[in-house]
Amino acid sequence: MTDPVLEVTGLAVHTTAGRAVLRDVSYAIAAGEVLALVGESGSGKTTAGLAALGHFRRGLVCAGGTVTLRPRTGEPVDLLSLGTAAQRRLRGSAVSYIPQDPALSLNPALRIGLQIAEVLRTHGYPGSVEDRVAEVLAEVGLPADERYRRRYPHQLSGGQQQRVGIAMAFACRPSVVVLDEPTTGLDVMTQALVLETVRTLTAEHGVAALYITHDLAVVAQLADRVAVMYQGDLVECGPADRVLRTPEHAYTKRLLAAVPDLSARPAPAPPPDDAVLAARGIHVAYGRQKVLRGVDLALTRGECVLLLGESGSGKTTLSQCIAGLNRNFTGTVALEGTPLASATRQRSTDERRRIQYVFQSPFSSLNPRKTIAQSIEVPLVRLTALSRTQRRERVAEMLDRVRLRSDLADRLPDQLSGGERQRAAIARALVTTPDVLVCDEVTSALDVSVQAAIVDLLGELRRELGMAMVFVTHNIALAPEVADRIAVLRGGEIVEEGPVETVLSAPSHSYTRELLDTTPRL
């Protein structure tokens, strides 16, 4: 290997209170190489990325180590030993940063052209700043004309904002780029586009890239080498192939095992039965904006349908219509042939009991001031006539079913981890043994290694309790793991529906095909 462009050795970072955030982190990246830094939230990966620019967030201090940068021209320097003025001259020019959320990192009050030109002017770009702005916008695949450059960030889509961020980072032709989860919050196709841009630019200009992510499938597509972080330590580092095929560290193995596998064989579908739940001709509109345009969805007893769609497709709205949480729809929702009232308060106790709902984020679905047992008891109080002791027993039994330790019953939600909270939320939905369970993106707020456990649990419970399930998600890769059928929702309409195996092997709609093509795999 030639001399690395960026070399970090023995980097240690503490909080001002003295708690270690990073311990002895070392890595190196050569020109034109992409190093993926993998870890889950709180593992210290963003801190490690920002340290490559000599920047530490408020409350963090560097406690040792070196960050050596070899710019295109000139001698190698240790960024950490430089003064602030010298560091500033390198930031944005020799080493640049692409942030996680462009909506927060682009200044909402400044035009995007100005924000890109600002980097060039600050670092004394020798040629015409205007021309370079146009050129770099074209490089990331955005229109480069005057009118586009005069737009404000809020006038762009999320994907366009992120490409402006990339343009800004590549404007001064840096030798190192740090990308901090740049595709979080983007849908699969936009993610593919952004990844393509990053790959082209790094290869063309011989840039060393540090790509921070929690998504191993993306790593497999993009990275040359992988470094895995766990609780502030770099636990494994090596060529991407080697790490993904034969992981050494237990945490890496766990991460890999948790990645959903599109090529898995789905379980055989249960024999067809009468529809337990049927939604017909569901329309929802807010003013002129139509969210759902005549959606039909039917569910037979014990069946699981994967409702697939990206954000804005109307999938959450549809699931809320079913659960009676959204009363502004036309069309019917029928339970075993009996049409239901639109609002949950107008439905009968038994109807309410038979359809249950698990919310997306367990951080928001449990009242922070109620204990877990109190939260799980609410449906029993409202929907059954059980006595206090019977309710207690039922709660204890349910906690056991979702594999939560009984001593967690009297804890408050913020004393539980995300996965434990989601188990509690599932327990609340199942404690009155529903016929239909609606799960709205139940894994998307959780760390990768926890998602798998929740999906497994739901599958098991479904088989044990024999209920039907609507599993709402944006991730098509989960289909073989959980579902019997797939319904693809796009722009408020179901564009494709069928058994999992058929849809995955022979998708009929172009959108589904594109989704399958752009979904990263290991």
């Binding site: 390198l90 944005g92 640049s96 927060l104 990192s105 400044l110 600002e118 980097v119 600050t122 006038q155």
Partner: protein, 318 residues
């Protein structure tokens, strides 16, 4: 954007109208018959009836309200029961005297508060920041008259005898002829509102300096001064305009106590006198005046907030 501003303007007008209604209804609660109150217990029924007619008390309530409201538009604020003269004549000089106090206090307190807040935010966590925030917290808690009395004790009586503790101008002479007598009242008002402006500016700047776009600007290698001026300060304009407005509006109320304390011939003093004598027409007029200042200042702040936000400004382009 224009639509938003027009809408905001209409809301202000409605609020102003409701305020006149509230002030009018409040004075209806006055126990007893105003005519009898003026003429005394010995008055003959004929004289009372005559005065009732003169005061339009024999007309229905809504009609009296409309007459009164109409009077407001033509500059007729009614007749003071204590001086028997028109309220406008009573208040004319006093309004300008109070405005002098308000404007001076606002002109000093606003830049002072903004500068102190920004300076404090840039030194977050250091001793100077903690000192600024501690002192402003203490002063913010003090009622106006406590600050005023403290200033009198310090600068007008016991410690230094440098400034007058009461207004010296004889009636009729404009207050600014003797600038010395303005120092303590203005200083009191400045001390009342500056801490709030400082604390709000500091909090807003801290939030802005923690934002993703400021971090990004620093990571682009931009100099700290440019970061502050170009990336941070513009975002503080909207929220801070609100607080500054609220404080300036607060001044309109605080002026009452300060004028009483320093025997300053403004509308606040007139209000206290009128309340003591239960001179309803004057109370109505001054209350409305102060409410109007309040509403106009808040309206201006909201308009500035709307103008400072490019998301609203470029709405039409979307």
């Amino acid at each position: 954007m224009t639509r938003l501003i027009v809408k905001r303007l209409l809301v202000s007008l409605v609020v102003l109208w409701l305020v006149t209604l509230l002030v009018y209804v409040a004075t209806l609660l006055l126990p007893g018959d105003p005519a009898r109150a003026i003429l005394g217990q010995q008055a003959t029924p004929e004289r009372i009836a005559a005065l009732q007619h003169q005061l339009h008390l024999d007309e229905p309530v809504w009609q009296r309200y409309l007459t009164w409201l109409g009077g407001l538009f033509t500059g007729d604020l009614g007749t003071s029961t204590s001086t028997q003269g028109p309220v406008t004549a009573l208040l004319a000089d006093r309004v300008s005297a109070s405005l002098v106090l308000l404007v001076l206090a606002a002109v000093i307190a606003t830049p002072l508060g903004l500068a102190l807040g920004t300076w404090s935010a840039m030194r977050r966590g250091r001793a100077t920041d903690q000192a600024v925030s501690g002192i402003s917290l203490v002063i913010a808690a003090l009622p106006e008259f406590v600050i005023g009395v403290a200033l009198i004790v310090l600068f007008a009586t016991t410690v230094f005898k440098a400034l007058p503790s009461v207004t010296l101008s004889p009636p009729g002479e404009p207050v600014w002829r003797q600038p010395g007598q303005l120092v303590l009242p203005v200083a009191t008002l400045v001390l009342v509102v500056t801490p709030y402006i400082t604390r709000m500016m500091r909090a807003t700047m801290n939030e802005v300096l923690d934002s993703g776009y400021v971090e990004m600007a620093r990571l682009k290698g931009i100099r700290e001064r440019t970061v502050l001026v170009r990336h941070a300060l513009p975002h503080a304009v909207g929220p801070v305009a609100q607080v500054v407005a609220l404080q300036l509006a607060w001044l309109a109320g605080g002026v009452v106590v300060v004028e009483f304390l320093f025997r300053y011939p403004g509308i606040g003093q007139a209000l206290i006198d009128a309340v003591g004598k239960r001179d309803v027409a004057v109370v109505q007029a001054v209350t409305l005046l102060i409410a109007a200042v309040y509403i106009v200042v808040n309206l201006l702040a909201d308009v500035i907030g709307i103008l400072a936000d490019p998301r609203v400004r470029t709405e039409a382009l979307r």
